[in-house]
Amino acid sequence: MDPVFWILLAKALVPSLVSLGKPELAGVLNDAIAAFKAGKNIDDAMKEFVARWEAEGEPSFDSIEKARQDIQARIDG
């Protein structure tokens, strides 16, 4: 089943858990949703790399390094 379905289902459960007096369970569920979304984002990026590899061929070390430098620039707070 589409992972988005499980995210939506879990999100729908959060208010119910809060109203049932189980905020700690709602917190655990929220964290699980966040972790799931992060994993999905990473996997989506990997799918993009696969598509690019197939369309343009193997990437060069230099192009990967350039992308890394751009990411590093974003990470300093």
Binding site: N30, N41, I42, A45, F49, E58, I71, Q72, I75, G77
Partner: protein, 134 residues
Amino acid sequence: MKKFIIGLFALAMVAGCTGTRTLYKKAETPTQYAKVVLLHHNAVGEEVANLLVDPTVSVGSKDTLRKAYRVTVCDKTETGPIATCRIGPSYQLTAAGKAYEAVKDAETEEQLQAALNTLVSLLTNVITAIKGAH
């Protein structure tokens, strides 16, 4: 070559999903394995960058994420901002990959393997930090 497969299989298991597995399956040579790990590192780095600007993520988690990512790109001697780091493990893997691509002998393959093992281990830590971020 078997060592590459074992280490990368473990990392793919940590990440788990179809896109990740498909990209790892594309790698057939040592330099391709290195490139896939570096691409994975970039995908994880993007997610770290996104989480650092997410208002729902706690300050403590952001600090953990930043520290975990830092050790993948910065050497211990690099004490400045992450943006300025250029000799950490991911750069060493790039250098080892380029050297192996140019020479392709047992010595450069050994260097590539060592650099790969180091980054795979550190990347696993960043993925774990992402899973714990909230």
